[in-house]
Structures are given as C-alpha cells and as structure tokens.
C-alpha cells in the first residue's frame, strides 16, 4: 500500500516547466495575470527572461504565442481553462490550429472541483471545445505525476495541444514510475465486472469508489483515458467487446466530453450502451469541492452507487 500523496495537479505542471527551463531553451511560458494560481510563477522566478505576462488579455496571449512559435519557440500558454478556451477560441481555431502551430495551451481550473469561485470559473466545456479543433491534441492528466510527464511529452510533440489541469489538491493515483504515453490509455485495474473510463483528477474519486465496490464484491476494470485526442480506439473497442457496455466518469459536460468521444468511436465501430457520469446541460455553482462532486454525482460514494446499479441492471 503506497502512502497518500495529495497535491494539486498544477504542481506537476509547475515542476515540469522548471525542468524544461533547464533542458529546453526554446520553451517559453505565457500567462495572463494568474501566474500564482497556475504555478507558472515558479518558472517566472527562475527564468524571468523567458516568462511573458501579457496582463489580462487572453486573445492577445494566444496570438503572441502563435508568433513566437513561428520563430521556433515552444510557448506554454497558461491561464484558467474557461478563459483560454472560451475567450480565445477564435485565435485557437483560426490562427493556432488552422496554421498548425506549435503552441501548448494549458487550462488550469478544469471542472466543478474548482469550488467556491462558482460557475463562471469552472471550465466544464473546455474538452469539447478543444477536441473538435483539427490538429489539436488534448491531454487530461489524472495527478501531479502524470501532469509532469504530460508536460514533458507535450514539449517534444510538434503541433498544437491542450493540457487540462485542475485546482484542488487530489490524491495521486499513479507514481513516478508509471508509464505514460500520449494516445495510449492506461489500465489501472483489471476486473471482470465492468469497465470504467475516466479522465482527469476525478480519477482519485474513481479509485476510492473502487475500494468501496470491492466491499460489495464488484471488481471493475478502470481505465485512465488521459488522452482525449487522439483517442485510443483499440482500447475502447476491446472493453466494449469484453463487457457489452461501458461507463465513463468526467468533470465535464456530458455533451462533447470524454463520454461523447468514446461514444463517437463506439457508434461507428461497435455499438454498446455507454453510461456517462458527467454534468448534464447545466453550469456549475459555488460550494466546497467535495460537496459539489457529491451533488453532481461524481463523489466516490455516488460513483460507487451508480456503478453498482449499472452492473446489476
């Protein structure tokens, strides 16, 4: 049994940037006046000449990054997911993706677990907005270890990419030595009762649910779908065939998120029922993260209940 490691996923990003600062002179970091929240301030302190604070101007930030990337730089554009994906969507579409530029977009504060700031600050549509863009890679790591690895890999990947982070300190469910490969799903548990796909820090709740399910004699296969695009079709089809139905869990709108992405694969390749635990056509609201997760049916306890029902039906 490993010891608990509870840290914000943003820390993994901040640490990866520090490493990249040393190893890759082309890496630059941009922020829009939120550097302490997003952890880019760590990079800024150590590499001030390679940190660009544009002020509260997300559209400008994305296109400045586009210009920098045209000159061979690898800009990591960082701010809250809700602001960069929404406000700067046209810049991401018409400049970054249409010209296939090597710009990395990092949206922190994904999901309702952002908590007290409320619906205006909780990105729940960012995955949908980013994954529909041609050329865009979309990665949603599950903890700070994986955020570190994802950041390092994205620096090497040529082309636009979106990395979704979250605010809360959550329990690590992978470790330093866990394998991570963009586009390749990570199997966390192999059970014979059902398959649960998740993306992001909600994985900590899913793993807690796993323990609860254990007591009920239910053993799920749990799959960390950290890459939403390109999606690991082979893995999805494999478990659809094995179980005849799948479940997905995400802190995102049901429309356009992980569950939708999986359903898109299945309706064309191997139609089975997909039960999506997600946010259904509404905005988030203020509250403590654990209270909100429970209210939205995404706490370990609520996930456990819904898995049980799903397995028994």
């Amino acid at each position: 049994m490993k010891t608990q490691d509870i840290r914000p996923i943003r820390d993994g990003y901040g640490n990866a940037l520090l490493k990249l600062g040393e190893t890759n002179p082309n890496v630059l970091v941009l922020d829009a006046d939120l550097s302490t929240s997003t952890r880019t301030n760590w990079f800024a302190e150590k590499f001030p000449e390679r940190f660009i604070d544009v002020g509260i101007a997300e559209q400008n930030m994305v296109d400045i990054a586009a210009g920098l990337s045209l000159e061979g730089k690898i800009p990591f554009v960082t701010t809250y997911g809700v602001f960069v994906c929404g406000r700067a969507f046209d810049q991401l579409r018409n400049t970054v993706c249409y010209s296939q530029l090597n710009v990395k977009i990092v949206g922190s504060h994904g999901g309702i677990s952002v908590g007290p700031d409320g619906g205006s600050h909780q990105a729940i549509e960012d995955i949908a907005l980013m994954r529909i863009l041609p050329h865009m890679t979309v990665v949603v790591p599950c903890d700070h270890f994986q955020a570190y690895k994802a950041t390092m890999e994205l620096a090497e990947l040529q082309g636009p990419a979106y990395l979704r982070l979250a605010r809360e300190a959550t329990e690590a469910i992978t470790d330093e030595n866990s394998n991570f490969e963009i586009g390749k799903a990570q199997i966390l548990t192999e059970g014979d009762d059902c398959a649960i796909f998740f993306a992001g820090t909600i994985g900590a709740e899913v793993m807690k649910a796993f323990e609860l399910l254990h007591d009920k004699n239910i053993f799920p296969t749990i799959i960390n779908m950290h890459t939403i695009k390109p999606i690991d079709k082979e893995c999805i089809i494999k478990y659809a065939k094995k179980f005849g139905k799948l479940m997905t869990v995400e802190e995102h709108l049901q429309a356009g998120g992980l569950g939708s992405a999986i359903a898109e694969v299945l309706v064309e390749e191997y139609p089975v029922k997909v039960k999506m635990l997600a946010i259904y056509d509404r905005f988030g609201e203020s509250g403590q993260p654990d209270v909100l997760l429970d209210a939205f049916g995404l706490s370990a306890k609520r996930i456990c209940e819904q898995v049980e029902e799903f397995v028994r039906e």
């Binding site: 002020g55 101007a57 559209q59 296109d63 400045i64 045209l70 000159e71 018409n94 010209s99």
Partner: protein, 278 residues
C-alpha cells in the same frame, strides 16, 4: 530580391499589381477588390523596396516578416508574391478555386510566402508582436511588418496588442493601417468612429506617422523614419482610397467583397493599362 528604387518604376509595378488583382477576382468571380486595391501602393513599396527576403528560400531566417492582418486582401498578397517570384503569375487565376493554393483568405499551410493564416480580423498585430519579441530575444535583425484594415481596428484585440508592443518596446515592429475609411456597412466614422485615430495610437505609446497611402515617395519616407525610431513600435496611418485605381470602385463600400462583371472588368483593366503604358 533586387530592390526597385525609382519612384516611377514602383508606380508602374503598383499598376501591374492592380491589373492582376482585378484580373484574378474577375476570373474567379469572387474576392475583395476594394481593400486589396487600397493597399497596393503600400504593399508594392514593402515588397519591392523595403523588405529583405528570398522567394527561393521563403523561410530564410534573416528575412523580414510580413503579416497580412486584413486577410481579405489576399488578392493583393498573392499578386505581390507572384511578382516577387514566389510562384508563377499564371497561378493567380486559380484564386479561390478548389484545390488552389490561393485560398479565399491566406492559408500558410498551403502557400509558401504566407507566414501565417489570416482572415479572422484583429489577430495579425498580436502575431506580429510574438514574432518581433522573438527577434528581440534572439537579437535578430529582421523587421516585422503588418498591414491592418481600418475597420479591423474595431476589434479589441488590436488594442491589447498595441499595449503589448509599446510595453515591450518593439521597435522592430511596423504596423500599417490602410485607412480607406470604409468598412462593409459603410463609413467607418458612422459605423464605429475611429477618430481621433492618431491620438489613440500616440496614447498607446507608438511612434505615429501620417501619410498619403498612395504617394510612393511618402511611403518610402515613412519606412525610412521607422528605421530611425528606437524603443517604441511604429504605426503608419496611411490615408487611402478604397478601390483605388478603378474609377467606378473608388470610395464605394459595395466594392468591398464583390467581383466586377465582364464589362466592368474590361473598363477597369483599360484604366489600369493606360497608366501602366503612360
């Protein structure tokens, strides 16, 4: 690229560019003649006198960069690139057609010489800021030029970029505003007043130069002045005429995005040809 230094030769080249703009839009039956024609003299001086580049090596590191922020003036950019030998002039007639490299608005993945795709307004200045900042970071000597429409200045992002450029002292950046005073819905001062425009740019910390955007000598002088400005970006507010050089198109908003018919094309080309041969 061999530079043209004589004013009459630059004027002649400008008319050749106009001829090609009208021809390609007429041939394909769609495109934006008004704002392409108003920017011709500025573009001609940029491409055939001011900028350093190598059409046979479009990504040469030392080249000066040009970003067409007003992407709908694609016919202007294509005519300039063709005359600068990036590709054959015969390709101009493929404008806006299926499989053509000459997309309705410039697409960088398709055509060498197009630095970045544009078309959605208000973004070129920000992109240019990024390129100029990179040049400063790496102590490169290239300069960055971007052509904006005046209607485009309605976009708030332009002013975010204006703030950034002066904050970062990007004196390797020159913005040119094609001030033809017409946007799609009419007079810029009636749709969304821009004046006092010079005062706005001054207040944002830019070196501001006012010129007649069809006077070659004025344009040459303005770029000369830009070279001498230190620690701040330069904007050239070029007073122009939308549809310049085709009498029936001049100062008429309706010619923003409409192709001339056969008869109109004949007249337009006749007018331009007369000046080319003069």
């Amino acid at each position: 690229m061999e530079k043209i230094t004589k004013i009459d030769q630059l004027q002649k080249r400008a008319e050749e560019i106009r001829y090609d703009i009208v021809s390609m839009i007429a041939e394909t039956g769609s495109g934006h003649p008004g704002g392409s024609l108003s920017g011709v003299d500025i573009g001609t001086v940029l491409f055939f006198n001011e900028m350093n580049y190598d059409p046979h090596n479009p990504t040469r590191e030392e080249r000066d960069r040009f970003i067409l922020s007003k992407g709908h003036a694609a016919p202007l950019l294509y005519a300039l690139l063709a005359h600068a030998s990036y590709f054959e002039r015969s390709e101009l007639k493929t404008l806006r057609k299926y499989k053509s490299r000459l997309q309705g608005h410039p697409a960088s993945l398709m055509l060498p010489g197009v630095e970045v795709s544009t078309g959605s307004l208000g973004q070129g200045l920000s992109i240019s800021c990024g390129i100029a900042l990179s040049g400063k970071m790496d102590k490169k000597n290239y300069r960055v030029y971007t052509l904006l429409g005046d209607g485009e200045l309605d976009e708030g992002q332009v002013w975010e970029a204006a703030m950034f450029a002066s904050h970062k002292k990007l004196d390797n950046l020159c913005a040119i505003v094609d001030r033809n005073r017409l946007q799609i819905d009419g007079d810029t001062e009636k749709v969304m007043a821009l004046e006092p425009l010079k005062a706005k740019w001054d207040a944002f910390g830019w070196h501001t130069i006012l010129i007649d955007g069809h006077n070659i000598s004025d344009i040459l002088d303005a770029f000369e002045e830009f070279h001498s400005v230190k620690n701040k970006p330069t904007v050239i507010l070029a007073k122009t005429v939308k549809g310049k050089g085709v009498s029936f198109m001049e100062n008429i908003a309706g010619w923003h995005g409409k192709a001339p018919d056969r008869e109109q094309t004949e007249q337009a080309l006749k007018e331009i040809k007369a000046r080319m041969d003069a």
